[in-house]
């Protein structure tokens, strides 16, 4: 059996895929497992001894003829064809696409043949997005920064691949994080036996990053109240940020290693740390593999439920924007975390044993949308509606659904088809308006629209039947809230 796993996102997503790859190896001990990543982020696939081959997508090489600017698209296509050929020749039994992007959907389709089991985004035979499995449909509908999903991406990846994660799947190579590696690291950086914490000073995007002057203020307080060492880490292009934090700070036990650690040394550094402090970034996901607790500074540009720290003992401190996160808040959380006590501030704690990775303490939590998601997908109880806007939205939505159900049977009929199509277009516009105006109904509408998208290219009678059923399913949910309404008979049943 030969399996291909696609992960064409960034460093952090590749690290979040490691546990799933380990679980796949456990489930299929004899299978040949290949892992496809982008060349730019391929370092994150080092140390994956449970994978048989790492394959690399080199975007720069493929696009080079075009960037030369001489109308060389055909040359790029030729390079693409030559890159694809040996991978297609692998004849994979299964392709697991953990990338959830248009690009990866085309790639999956090209690399698969008729007998390949596909999970994750692919394409229909007429080129539209196809979502064969329910977990990927959940991802399409509910996962993202402005959505209400609370399942962690690490768990979602595992669900796409139909594997169960175990605690030991979250691990790093022993040669990088074992006692000898850490001892050598300490000697190299003259740390002696002092405890140290690691601070990742940047993030891939400004909206996720904490300003240098706030870092400086937080670290001054941490040095004042804790005796250990502080190591700043980051990429080579973040070196000036490390210097800026230290400049004029008076910090005496803080050392910048920004730009000075190799990839494997980053694992060693984080593995030996008592704590990692960082924003939404790859080191937080390294910490999950080295079992290092984190204080994760999170902002509204990130959904921490999906991409927060997974190591035990971690906490998330949240503010809408970097500018509104006080340095005292960060320092207070770090100091209390190091002391093994609650900070007294509102916080989000890493927890075990439930469907989600975190528990909220002292923060307002409007979890209606999340409970609605659980009801739709996992059979949970439908949450009670307390606001007039949502009730009004449901009433409008039901009217739109009933109109659609009246028109759908006419789609197959000759003369009335055009009129029915126009009215169904109006239904779609109405549903989009309700989506914009009533936030609590978005998970329900996203689920509905995704199920419609999944219908795909079929004979018209079957499309009509399935569309009718999808509208009927939506009506059933609305009737739960608004009272019984006679459910129209499903066509073809």
């Amino acid at each position: 059996m030969k399996i291909l796993v696609l992960q064409l996102a960034r460093f952090g997503d590749i690290f979040l895929s490691w546990p799933t790859l380990r679980a796949l190896r456990r489930k299929f001990p004899e299978a040949e497992i290949h892992f496809l990543v982008r060349k730019k982020f391929s370092q994150a696939a080092q140390g994956l001894d449970i994978v048989d081959q790492i394959k690399v997508l080199d975007t720069a090489d493929l696009l080079a003829p075009i960037i030369l600017g001489q109308e060389f698209e055909q040359a790029s296509l030729q390079r693409l064809t030559e890159w694809l050929a040996p991978i297609r020749g692998e004849n994979y039994s299964a392709i697991y696409n953990l990338s959830f992007s248009p690009l990866s959907s085309y790639l999956t389709q090209i690399l698969a043949d008729e007998s390949t089991i596909i999970r994750g985004y692919t394409r229909t035979e007429d080129g539209y997005l196809a979502i064969p499995d329910d977990t990927s449909a959940y991802f399409y509908a509910q996962v993202g920064v402005n959505k209400s999903n609370r399942y962690h991406l690490g768990e979602v990846f595992a669900a796409v691949c139909e594997v169960e994660l175990q605690a030991e799947d979250w691990c790093a190579p022993a040669q990088w994080t074992g006692a000898q590696a850490i001892a050598e690291f300490r000697e190299r950086h003259e740390l002696g036996s002092q405890p140290y914490i690691a601070v990742h000073v940047a993030s891939s995007q400004a909206a996720k990053s904490y300003p240098a002057f706030k870092w400086r203020a937080a670290l001054v307080r941490i040095e004042r109240e804790w005796d250990g060492r502080i190591l700043l880490v980051g990429a080579a292009n973040e070196r000036t940020l490390g210097d800026e934090i230290l400049s004029g700070s008076g910090l005496t036990r803080t050392k910048s290693l920004v730009g000075d650690t190799s990839f494997t040394e980053l694992f060693t550094l984080i593995g030996g740390a008592q704590l990692l402090i960082g924003c939404d970034s790859a080191p937080v996901h390294v910490a999950a593999l080295t079992a290092t607790p984190c204080v994760n500074i999170s902002f509204s540009s990130v959904n921490f439920w999906e991409t927060g720290p997974m190591s035990r003992g971690s906490r998330v401190v949240y503010a809408d924007e970097p500018e509104t996160m006080p340095s005292d808040r960060v320092a207070g959380e770090v100091i209390s975390c190091l002391g093994g006590r609650a900070s007294g501030f509102p916080a989000v704690r890493r927890v075990d044993g439930g469907p989600v990775a975190y528990a909220i303490e002292g923060l307002p939590d409007d979890d209606f949308a999340w409970r609605l998601i659980q009801a739709i997908y996992s059979g949970g109880e439908f949450p009670v509606v307390h606001d007039d806007l949502t009730v009004a939205g449901m009433v409008q939505l039901r009217e739109a659904v009933l109109m659609a159900l009246e028109q759908i049977p006419h789609i197959e009929a000759g003369k009335s088809r055009v009129q029915a199509s126009r009215l169904l277009d109006q239904v779609d516009i109405a549903i989009q308006s309700i989506y914009r105006i009533v936030p609590h109904l978005r998970p329900l509408i996203d689920w509905f629209q995704t199920e419609r998208l999944r219908i795909g290219p079929l004979p018209l009678p079957e499309i009509v039947r399935r569309t009718n059923k999808t509208f009927c399913d939506l009506l059933a949910v609305l009737n739960l809230y608004l009272g019984a309404n006679e459910r129209p008979a499903e066509i073809g049943v």
Binding site: R38, S101, Y106
Partner: protein, 60 residues
Amino acid sequence: MKKETETHLRKALQRLELTAKRVMETRGYTKDTAKIRLLEELIKEQLVHENISTSARPVR
């Protein structure tokens, strides 16, 4: 991204979209069309932002 590079990529994207449209009209959707679409997506990724997005981004 340099303006010149962006211009090259945008023009290439336009030409590829036309090519794909012609292929679709004559041969329908094939693996060759899928390859053109894949190349289009590679280009579009560069034009949205230079860094590749994370898994959980809003663009599907």
